[in-house]
Symmetry: C2
Amino acid sequence: MMTSSPLTIGDLAKATGTKVVTVRYYERIGLLPPPRRTGGNYRAYEPMHLDRLRFIRRCRDLGFTLDQVRELLHLSSQEGKSCGEVDRIAAAHLAATEEKIADLTRLAGQLRRIISRCEGGGVIADCRIIEALSPCAEEDESC
Amino acid sequence: MMTSSPLTIGDLAKATGTKVVTVRYYERIGLLPPPRRTGGNYRAYEPMHLDRLRFIRRCRDLGFTLDQVRELLHLSSQEGKSCGEVDRIAAAHLAATEEKIADLTRLAGQLRRIISRCEGGGVIADCRIIEALSPCAEEDESC
DNA sequence: CATGGGGTCTATAGTCGCTATAGGGTCAAG
DNA sequence: CTTGACCCTATAGCGACTATAGACCCCATG
């Protein structure tokens, strides 16, 4: 059984689909522990870093904020603790995501309605889209 | 028929549901033309500013970026021009919005699936959420 | 006329999650 | 020994605001 040699930042980045600058950024904000350095001052990552970065990326792909990731990382190391907090974070994020979907759906509906009124061949002065974007004040008698 | 007196920035903000700082920000980035100033150096807005800011807010509420708003504002003043460009911007934004909805929907589905596997009463070491967030590498024999 | 409170002014820095740039150092292949 | 790919730090920029500090103005009340 061979022991794997440490990874350069480029290896780590490629293995996780992260950009090199982003890896350094995660280190700077304390998400990824600083690895030891080689003689030439290169970062030398261990498999543990790979695991951790993969965890971070997976969370980010799921839309968690970096603060939530930080909390999840912290919790994931407390093996004996109840997992209620984890559940709470995930549920909150799901709720937020569902709300965002609802908002965007409502919005898309409005956009479709606005766009459908436009004949497309007209000029700006008659454009239904511009008109729809120009809400009239109640006290404005010209509307 | 009475002529309306100029508005303070606070009046304008309240009338459009914008924050005062945001109004100043729109001026700084060239979206809202600088109004004349009073003796005390206060901004004094005309009805035209009200119209323009309402247009901006409506666009923002519909999710257009400030750059798109800038372009729409520019186009809306070209009364004789064809409205094809307006249509293009709106359609592009609708497409982007629909894509975002699709992304978030996929994401919410994954989150629901992950969360549903968690019994809630367990400890972190057995937490299905943490587990689901910890993707295993193919070359990692422990998975 | 003084005072107090609320609104306004500018300028600057912070937010989030990166991304880009400048100006260098290191390393391995040819 | 040179070339080119990689790595290093530090700093600034993105979008769309938001927050803060410190000063100024205006109006109503005493």
